[in-house]
Symmetry: C2
Subunit: 378 residues, 2 copies
């Protein structure tokens, strides 16, 4: 295990945790939200604009970058940080999510998963070892093991098979990662097991036996109700070592994140702030606001006069409505920015609340704010 990837737990409040981890490209305060930069760009945002949302780390996608422009090319161009002009930490996923989402385009064996490119039909083989190699070529501060992610609900036998395969792949990923001895870089294992707690616990124990710099909970937010997701989180985190960061992959809404922090999660990523932003939705303290709705057409108010981010204060709802209706790029750009900034303000609020041991009050206030907006929207 490399020495200088460190996670420090500053404070706990119930199960909620306030900490920080250090990577070769800098420190990240937790609970942390990572905007998704699928293809080497957080869609629509310049790196300095991502930074201005108070983001400290972004996520890149192994599958997408493997297809285009290719990890060897990115490495020749100085790695992903240089390529996308983002000097701060990067976590890369492993392609495991695409094993699920691109099920019709891939073939799975014990050895590897083979993808037919959704771009041009080219075949790509992704083994646990190749996933580690790609992430090293990209220069990811935090790499993820290759795993098999299932859509829920799924038969128990399937969940068990996928979990056990993921565990064997975790072992191979770890060996491949250690062979590279990248000082200060981290590899996270991924807990699988669907919605079956016995499988989840077995997965967590198996991963802890192998030993990772951090532990992710994968295979959630894949079709199950929120209460199932939160139950799995709540019952999995106690099986993870407290001195390591915990990452809930692909989650979620502000409410999902709040509840998952309450259950001991430290890290999140989700496309929702950017994807919903491109579709005219704003995340705010007052809940989600659909700016394409005609009731905003003449509304001179900004989205949130008290937002820490100028974009949420500087443009009227009427203007944002106009941009969305006119399908203007700037609508997608501003709403993506505003949404990431809101997610980061939420994370900062949670961090401060945990430090001051008033997380429950923060949670109650946040829920009340979102509900207030939902009522106003009726």
């Amino acid at each position: 295990m490399t020495a200088s990837f460190t996670f420090t737990l500053h404070k706990t409040d119930g199960m909620a945790r306030r900490g920080a981890f250090v990577t070769p490209h800098g420190q990240v305060q937790t609970p942390a939200f990572m905007p998704v930069g699928t293809a080497g760009t957080v869609k629509g945002l310049k790196p300095e604009d991502v930074r201005a949302t108070n983001s400290e780390i972004v996520l890149g996608n192994t599958y997408h970058l493997m297809l285009r422009p290719g990890p060897e090319r990115v490495a020749a161009l100085g790695g992903l940080h240089t390529f996308m002009n983002w000097p701060l930490p990067i976590l890369t996923d492993s392609g495991g999510f695409q094993v699920m989402s691109l099920a019709s385009l891939r073939k799975l064996t014990e050895q590897a998963v083979t993808f037919r490119s959704h771009l041009d039909g080219t075949m790509f083989e992704l083994s646990p070892e190749r996933a580690i190699e790609i992430q090293a070529l990209l220069g990811a501060d935090i790499s993820m093991q290759l795993d098999e992610c299932l859509r829920l609900p799924a038969p128990r036998a399937e969940m068990q098979r996928a979990m056990e395969l993921s565990l064997r792949w975790a072992e191979r990923s770890r060996r491949a990662f250690e062979a590279r001895a990248r000082e200060g870089y981290a590899l996270f294992g991924i807990v699988q097991g669907g919605d079956d707690m016995a499988l989840r616990t077995a997965s967590a124990r198996g991963l802890v036996d192998i030993g990772f710099e951090g532990y992710a909970i994968g295979g959630l937010a894949v079709g199950e109700p929120q209460e199932v997701m939160l139950k799995v989180v709540e019952e999995t985190t106690p099986a993870l070592p407290p001195e390591r960061p915990r990452y809930l992959m692909g989650v979620g809404t502000p409410h999902d994140i709040l509840e998952a922090v309450a259950r001991g999660i430290d890290m999140f990523d989700c496309v929702m702030p950017t994807r919903n932003g491109r579709h005219g939705m704003a995340f705010t303290r007052f809940g989600q606001i659909n700016l394409s709705n005609a009731r905003h057409a003449s509304d001179p108010r900004s989205l949130d006069e008290e937002s820490p981010h100028p974009a949420a204060r500087s443009y009227s709802r009427a203007y944002l409505h106009h941009l969305v209706k006119a399908n203007e790029i700037l609508g997608a750009v501003l709403l993506s920015t505003i949404n990431i900034a809101y997610y980061q303000a939420l994370m900062a609020g949670m961090r401060e609340a945990i430090e001051q041991v008033r997380f429950e009050a923060f949670r109650t206030d946040s829920l009340a704010g979102w509900e207030q907006g939902d009522i106003a929207a009726l």
Copy 2:
């Protein structure tokens, strides 16, 4: 004529002119390039990003804003400056260009042009008086008279009819504008007459007799060869009063602009930097670069290491190529920014050259730079 719209001619070098004009929202150095903000946004750029390209004035479109969100709504929201969060000067066109470009959707009479909205089929009547009213509702620092723009080549009788109609509309526009007595705001007349110099001269004389704060040359860059356009410019500018700014509408490439400044033009607007940027083209000191071309895929060089704008220095051609191929919003955003910044650097270079009476040398150097890139691209 309102008193405080002032144009000051600082220096001439041959026919090239260095000056500045003052509007209610600030001063603009000439020769000036105005990025096009058709529907209340320079496509893909935040206002602060437009400002960072060194732009001092943007253009808005009467036709587009009339259809959506509507000038009365913009006025109720505080005017176009407030609506789009752009505190600097704005010039609005009159809809005359759409009389040409949307010929199949409009009906023209002596009184007005009636458009069928390209969005939803609603009918809109645009008279010279309504065009002035709309531009006043938008709060444009510089309004344009309604005119009839023709595509070239056109029969002489048609060019004469359209020019004479435009002149009668100029008179009506002037009366409507003066009735509003907007202190410091300006109305420009538009010279028409196609490629016929007798008609152009008659148009210019007619407009000067009415009297405007500035004079535009319209009906060019509408299908004619560059040499025809430049000949019309060269022979029209002497018929315009030297103490008023001269605006060549809808032009053009960097080369067009350079040659038009050499013939006494002070102001330009064009969609080319943003439209071509959205299609993967970069304007640089080395000519146009098509970033979708595979030869850029592994090129670590920036577009221009000496550009005054960071976006032209901070991203490799390989990264821009990747964004363009992946159809990422950020490609459109960065290339639009880089292109406007290049246009503004060209304008700044011309302004400085005229001040130092070395415009000819600047012209020769610019042409050589563009040609060098064109050769490298072979």
